[in-house]
Symmetry: C2
Amino acid sequence: MDTIERWGMFEIAVRGVETGNPFTERTVAATFTGDHETVTVDGFYDGEGVYRVRFMPSYEGEYAYELDGNYGGGRKTGRFRAVPATGNNHGPVRVANQYHFAYADGTPYYCLGTTCYVWDLQSDARIAETLQSLKDSAFNKLRFCVFPKHYDYNLGEPRSYPYAGTPMDSGVLTRENFQQYTFKTEGNRFDYTRFNPAHFRHVEWCILQLQALGVEADIIMMHPYDRWGFSTMTREQDDLYWKYAVARFAAYRNVWWSLANEYDLFPTKTIADWERFAGILVDRDPYGHLRSIHNCRPFYDYTRPWVTHCSIQRQDLYKSAELVDEWRERFGKPVVLDEIAYEGNIQHGWGNISGEEMTRRFWEAACRGGYPGHGETYMNPDDVLWWSHGGKLGGESWKRFALLREVLSQTPGLGLMPWEGRGWDEVCGVPECEFMQPVKSYYLFYYSFMRPSFREYHFDDTTEFEVRVIDTWEMTVEDRGVFRGKFRVDLPGRCYMAVQIRRRG
Amino acid sequence: MDTIERWGMFEIAVRGVETGNPFTERTVAATFTGDHETVTVDGFYDGEGVYRVRFMPSYEGEYAYELDGNYGGGRKTGRFRAVPATGNNHGPVRVANQYHFAYADGTPYYCLGTTCYVWDLQSDARIAETLQSLKDSAFNKLRFCVFPKHYDYNLGEPRSYPYAGTPMDSGVLTRENFQQYTFKTEGNRFDYTRFNPAHFRHVEWCILQLQALGVEADIIMMHPYDRWGFSTMTREQDDLYWKYAVARFAAYRNVWWSLANEYDLFPTKTIADWERFAGILVDRDPYGHLRSIHNCRPFYDYTRPWVTHCSIQRQDLYKSAELVDEWRERFGKPVVLDEIAYEGNIQHGWGNISGEEMTRRFWEAACRGGYPGHGETYMNPDDVLWWSHGGKLGGESWKRFALLREVLSQTPGLGLMPWEGRGWDEVCGVPECEFMQPVKSYYLFYYSFMRPSFREYHFDDTTEFEVRVIDTWEMTVEDRGVFRGKFRVDLPGRCYMAVQIRRRG
């Protein structure tokens, strides 16, 4: 009997009709039955007469399946066995402890993401470089798009298109005129009812490469940086896309659904459209992968029941991570800061903060119980910018996130929350699970751009605490010994210091 | 005939009764009559049988005066001539162009202040050091107190007390226990109805030293950092103090009245008290010196008619200077940021920002049409901190304000206002007086912590502009030539850059 790991992907391939438009005229679906679940999923046409149905078992044990549809190959049945997960397979990431995340097997997941919008649509060499960069980094989530991107520093053609057809002539584009072509569809000859399976197969290959690295694939399903007509399709075409993409991607355990980047910049989409797409996801993704949507200006209503977590682009030039407390309270869900500006030096204010400031925003967000996200937008002679193309990381902040991830992984229980007892001039995360306890077992203080030469602490008179001083920029960790009662910790009077205080024993 | 410069101080000294309590039982006042004004002012008892009346002529020409009161020396008359102001005597500073300041003779005054709360109550040597530091700096306003200060790093005794009597034993004070003594009056033996004229004479000497340096004396009349009972006197004692101080100080042209530091921290004062003190000022200061009051947490209602300008302590740990636009609109008066945190490294979050951040807040405030204020709180082996004691400036930001003051002095007309046409990711000041003009003669852009490698500008197609690139931290100014239409300015991709764009000719 075939075996597959629990949370692995089991795929059935069958041959069927090639004529007409199989994408719109043909169906295939299968029901999978194990001891603990019965799941029906749609399959999809993968070109050249091949239809596939994919399934991710959420349990171990034997599964039987039955496949059928008008695809032309008739009813099929079979069995396979889901065996225990191994290695870094901890299952999909779920919301856990309300404001946090854990893998399905319970392993905490401290989300530290980055963004390479269309790394997947670059050359093989560039993609390999991106994967190596991710491997060398502490990032465990990557935001990227299915559709190609038309934007400043991104005027080139993608390696492939999601639809059959040919694009407008991009030879006419310049930095000066490209905005005039945004949302223009003239010159494109795409059939928005016929997918290009090779394009999707390649995206899936990328998802799997990320999976191997332990990186969640935060797939941006739609975005408004478009000259090919993909952002202005009809309602029927949109729905066809959503169903096709869900049928293809949902069985990969590391998939997250980002309905859109900057949903509010689409000229023809309404909230009702986004809600309809969310409905398709909720109906057709039986695994309940994480779902959100990312704003330019107004936040989406993250209290909507289908939204699993906030995917925030900061609204203020000056305050971003500092508002995590407020957003946690307002939305009652995990706060992921998918865009808090990018480290770099391009002309745009969203893409030119320093490595220091990015690192500061990361710690500030993390110590308030939120999850920060990174990106790089450094000027480059070949216009290869990490934020869009991937490639090599050239900045300063990314090197410092392994330390943050290590410190976060030391949180007792799962996840930090902002401590109400903190001073007005400090940030402090305490274990979310200890919210009722007057004295916590763990305090992670952060002093941001402030430069105290010392700080005094007093939690109670009896508990012994171990103190470590962390220079988050210089990446040093100093044990300072054991303290009790009211005590003073000397600090170097530099920016970006953290103090980790743990109950002894 | 005696002569005095216009806006100089003319003083009449007379001998009178020494017995009883001359401060409460005796009066002296004089009326001064010139061609353009008739002014009646109260005098004051200066000890040892001497009574004084002081007057600042607002006009040139001959003045006659008539002095009288129950002080015991009878009616006196005399004359003097007010001659033209010379040197740096431009008269008192007034509000001008709604959001700005100018000296009475019309010279623009771009306010860049600092704070040394009780520099005046230190040793002669320290005072001399402070004056030298001010001379070497670009500061043109100093905030300081009449009453001594009891606070962290400030537990010593002042050189003198404003009242006759003796203080509590301060030998018992430590950094750990000092807060228990705040507002405690036990052990003090002061007569709050008998001033110590020597104390006030010394404060006046300090005011005059500042005047000689072109520094405005922003006198903090009351403050809550007190163990001597000066902040918790009775209503009658308070009013006696206000009238005495006004009679002594008002004739010095460089005096500003700050009713209080952190008015909201006094345990026994109400808004009605502050309004009453303001009333005394309005009644008894015939020169209308600038008046404001400084907050800890809630702002005072700066729309009150007696308030000439906002004296703001920032309310947010992260945003301070960034809110100048909002405060201008809300209060409709000059926005002076008297406390935006201090450069230093003490334990308190209000006293440990970097020189870079202080300089950033200065430019940010200035390019939004506000007036920033400085202070230094560096740890010091002798506990001499500029913010309280004066002494030597040890930080980094103060060196950079001469450049800012020079740039501000180049503003056409009087004062900058935030330009509505600026991008979301930049700050830009334009001349307040050109608010109706679609294309301005002057733009002062500031990029704060952002690091653009270039920016593009387009004001109109015909005007020629001269462009200078200012590194506000490195203090370099680069001429970039003349531009017209849409143009691009290359920048070094570093923090803290400004771009000054001036209409040619």
